[in-house]
């Protein structure tokens, strides 16, 4: 998600077209991040709307110290975490939570094709992680937030973030190896046996 600085500045100055264009260009990215964090398409759509309402309120204070996409990711994280705190019900996040039509907007260079194919497989495995592990992993490893930022967003200590991160990576690697080895059936059995630890 790349956004021109001029477009952001025009939106900051009150240009309605620029603001709408900003939403058009970024809403898929915001929705995807929200979906990875909340694990449910309906909640992700609500989070997406709330993110842009917050963006309208706070855009004037954006100083271009970080990139707009980084700032937008932080806003999305905060809104998603607030939504999760309010949410009383818990969703069983299975692999199907992330739609299969995940797409890559950039052209695929040959050397990245394998990594992209792997990332698409990972999308489903990540969605199957326990909620706490999934959120930490998504914020840290997918969106590159620091351990401290993740801890602040989730109301955890940095130590707790590291523990969840370790478990999430370990589990994800094991599941990835199992699926790659054609051991999907064994994986499903192991998932049932281990249950949902976070």
């Amino acid at each position: 998600m790349e956004v021109d600085r001029e477009l952001v500045e025009a939106a900051q100055a009150g240009d309605r077209w620029a603001l709408e264009e900003l939403v058009r260009r970024t809403h898929r990215s915001v929705y995807t991040c929200a979906l990875r964090l909340v694990g449910n398409p309906d909640d992700a759509a609500d989070v997406t709307q709330d993110v842009y309402l917050r963006v309208v309120r706070k855009l004037g204070g954006f100083r271009h110290e970080a990139s707009f996409s980084t700032w937008l990711n932080r806003v999305t994280t905060n809104v998603a975490m607030s939504t999760l705190k309010r949410r009383t019900r818990r969703f069983a996040v299975e692999g199907a939570a992330v739609p299969a039509d995940t797409r890559d907007p950039a052209p695929e260079p040959a050397e990245r094709a394998e990594a992209i194919a792997l990332a698409r497989r990972l999308e489903l495995l990540v969605a199957g992680l326990p909620e706490g592990q999934r959120q930490v992993l998504v914020l840290r490893d997918v969106y590159g937030q620091s351990t401290e930022e993740v801890a602040n967003a989730m109301g955890l200590t940095p130590g707790a973030v590291k523990v969840r991160l370790f478990r999430a990576r370990e589990r994800l690697k094991a599941e990835l190896e199992a699926t790659e080895g054609g051991q999907v059936v064994a994986l499903a059995g192991r998932r049932r046996a281990t249950g949902r630890r976070s």
């Binding site: 058009r24 992700a44 759509a45 709307q49 698409r120 990540v126």
Partner: protein, 138 residues
């Protein structure tokens, strides 16, 4: 000597999450241990694929974009740049000051200006100017 058991918690970590000592210890062990080297390579590959996920996007359900645009259209204040808001505020304050000043001035003028000849205060040059009672007492 560092054992595989000791190194195992360090294998999934990124370099920036480790101390210099831990980085050095892990590198030394991985150089000599094929099993841990394979594990470390798998985590590295996993990390790269997870980073690639940031560029993958999911299409939201139909109507999500329109819903967002309607919502922000309702909430939008028009101008959000604080510099423009500050300039508009200053201009507003200036206009308000001018309006109030003119109102006060016109009110003073209307007090000074008599409404008819019978109410005109005549100044008689040889008569003492009336003074308030308090001033007289002093």
């Amino acid at each position: 000597m560092t054992t595989c058991h000791n190194i195992r918690p360090l294998l999934p970590a990124r370099a920036e999450e480790l101390s210099l000592f831990e980085i050095h210890t892990r590198a030394e062990h991985v150089a000599d241990c094929a099993r841990c080297a394979t594990e470390a390579a798998a985590y590295s590959r996993l990390g790269q694929a997870l980073a690639v996920m940031a560029n993958l996007e999911v299409d939201p359900a139909d109507g999500t974009l329109e819903r967002v645009l309607v919502a922000i259209g309702r909430r939008r204040t028009g101008v959000t740049d604080p510099r423009i808001l500050a300039a508009a505020g200053s201009a507003g304050a200036l206009v308000a000051t001018v309006v109030v000043a003119r109102a006060v001035r016109s009110r003073r003028r209307s007090r000074r200006r008599p409404s008819g000849p019978w109410s005109r205060r005549l100044r008689l040059p040889n008569l003492p100017v009336p003074t308030p009672a308090l001033a007289r007492a002093k």
